[in-house]
């Protein structure tokens, strides 16, 4: 039941409660209670909007930064990760297996702003061994949604 609710609202969090109940074949009260509970439990962490900022005039620069760090005794990667993700510019931060440790997704207004963050904030952290910055040139698909594509219904209007 929870999974059904989550699968649906993951793609459309704006659906109204009554409609969601009808679609999933549950009562409105049940859906409301489950949503409430899942928010409390931190399963539902927020309701966001997927925006293609390239279509808006405001300048934005996104970068993915691979960060190699020295894990700290007793704290592993968590405490260094925390020092990084607390910066509001950091949009996402993941611990990664493989050739580096943290993948940091960064959003800034300009190239200079992103570079400054990397060279002044990130690289200067004691435990950071190296960084490698990749600027995002174009977003094709985000959160399972293909951007730059509007799909028309090309089926015939009526078929048996």
């Amino acid at each position: 039941m929870r999974e059904k609710i989550l699968t649906f609202i993951e793609k459309n969090s704006r659906v109204d409660l009554k409609e969601l109940a009808v679609i999933l074949g549950m009562t409105e009260a049940d859906v409301a209670n489950e949503l409430e509970a899942m928010e409390q439990e931190g399963i539902i962490c927020g309701y966001h909007t997927l925006i293609d900022w390239d279509k808006v005039t405001t300048e934005r620069v996104n970068a993915l930064i691979e960060v190699r760090v020295t894990p700290q005794r007793g704290k592993g990667f968590d405490s260094i990760a925390e020092r990084i993700y607390k910066y509001p510019e950091v949009e996402a931060c993941y611990l990664i297996s493989g050739g580096y440790d943290l993948l940091v997704s960064l959003e800034g207004k300009t190239l200079r702003e992103v570079s400054a963050f990397v060279s002044e904030k990130l690289s200067t952290l004691e435990t950071v061994i190296s960084t490698s910055t990749h600027f995002i040139l174009k977003k094709y698909k985000d959160h399972g949604t293909i951007l730059h594509q509007k799909k028309e219904d090309e089926r015939m209007i009526m078929t048996p």
Partner: protein, 390 residues
């Protein structure tokens, strides 16, 4: 000049949808709930396999019955889903859609005057295919009060000593009706007793909601007298690939293959390669689409209840079949007015046989967003009709 046309073909009525299609196509901003195919694109891994087969230059004919690899997959799938086993070498033929399978099955089995029982409302091709094969269509009118299932009594009443084939169109287009195990057992018993063959069109077998599809071929004594027809169009959203198949006793399949060999040669090769991938790795796609149709089905049933439009709860395919008899109009007239007044296109139930009169076929192979607008329009229309009646 002599009349160039055959009397037989000229007397067959064109599909009842055609006329309506022409009118609806000319209008702008129409919201249509008239389509009998999925709104999903074919899952990418299946398309990719088709593209890959083209890149590798697999552009030749396949054997008449189709790629062995695909026939083997079909047999595995049919065993797994319908609990019937077939020999891929001699008991399966790959066709150009389920529709070709219907046609060649009729032609392989009928002699002039043989009667074919066709429960209606149902898909538009059984009757003309029977006539083209020189058979005599005998219509069984299914009833709303039975949720458009075929009952043993209705079947018995229609059987004569010329009856050869019973068409079993379930899950049903246009009603969404299904036949459950208990319903089928009664039908199967009669078929065995009266020595009837069954043409079981199970193209919507993957699309049932909350109830499992049961194939009549899996019932005792039925495998040897059933042609099981299925295909990729509905389950895997592959309508344009034109790929279906028939499984059945090898004597019948052999004769069907003969017709197919001379008329078609083989089903499209690209589609066959894509279909192998669909059967091997497509279960999760089917599951996702089924889930999505079910959401829309519940949405429509709820909308009908709210506007007081009577409709039995359908458990299959992607259609609902509400009753509009209270408005005292023929379903074609109703559909035309609805189109005219609200720019909403639905298919009159009468397009699927006389017993569909007084009903509409509404397809939910549309996005919820689309369905929502459509239901607002339908509701506005009903309010208007009811207002003018009082």
């Amino acid at each position: 000049m002599r009349n160039p046309l055959s009397e037989k073909i000229v007397t067959i009525r064109p599909s009842g949808i055609r006329k309506f299609f022409d009118i609806a196509s000319e209008r702008k901003d129409v919201i249509s709930l008239g389509v009998g195919e999925p709104d999903f694109d074919t899952p990418w891994h299946i398309r990719d396999e088709g593209i890959w087969s083209l890149e590798k230059g697999r552009t030749f004919y396949t054997s008449n019955s189709g790629l062995m690899e695909l026939r083997e997959e079909i047999c595995r799938y049919t065993q797994r889903k319908a609990d019937v086993s077939y020999d891929p070498k001699s008991e399966v033929i790959i066709t150009v859609g389920g529709s070709e399978a219907i046609d060649i099955a009729m032609r392989a089995m009928l002699d002039p005057g043989d009667e074919v029982l066709i429960p209606q409302p149902s898909y538009v091709s059984y009757e003309p295919c029977t006539i083209l094969a020189d058979g005599k269509p005998v219509i069984i009118e299914l009833k709303n009060e039975n949720e458009f299932r075929l009952t043993a009594e209705e079947l018995k009443e229609a059987i004569t000593n010329r009856t050869k084939i019973l068409v079993m169109p379930f899950p049903n287009n246009p009603t969404g009706a299904i036949m459950e195990r208990a319903d089928l057992e009664k039908i199967a018993n009669i078929c065995v007793e009266k020595d009837l063959f069954v043409l079981s069109d199970e193209i919507y077998s993957e699309l049932t909601y909350g109830k499992q599809h049961v194939s009549i071929a899996s019932m005792p004594g039925m495998r040897e007298r059933t042609i099981l027809i299925n295909g990729f169009s509905k389950a895997f959203a592959m309508t344009g690939w034109r790929l279906g198949y028939a499984c059945g006793p090898k004597d019948i399949i052999a004769q069907m293959t003969k017709i197919h060999q001379f008329a078609i040669m083989c089903a499209p090769t690209t589609s066959q390669y894509a279909a192998v991938e669909a059967l091997k790795n497509g279960d999760k796609d089917v599951e996702m689409m089924r889930e999505s149709y079910d959401e829309r089905r519940r949405f429509l049933m709820h909308a009908f209840r709210e506007m007081g439009l009577p409709c039995f709860e359908p458990y299959g395919a992607f259609y609902v079949f509400p009753c509009i008899k209270e408005f005292g109009m023929a379903s074609e007239e109703f559909a035309l007015k609805l189109l005219d007044d609200q720019n909403l296109a639905v298919v009159p139930g009468s397009a699927f046989g006389g017993s569909g009169e007084g009903f509409l076929r509404i397809s939910y192979a549309y996005s919820l967003k689309n369905l929502k607008i459509a239901m607002e329009r339908l509701s506005a229309f009903l309010t208007k009709l009811r207002g003018s009646a009082s």
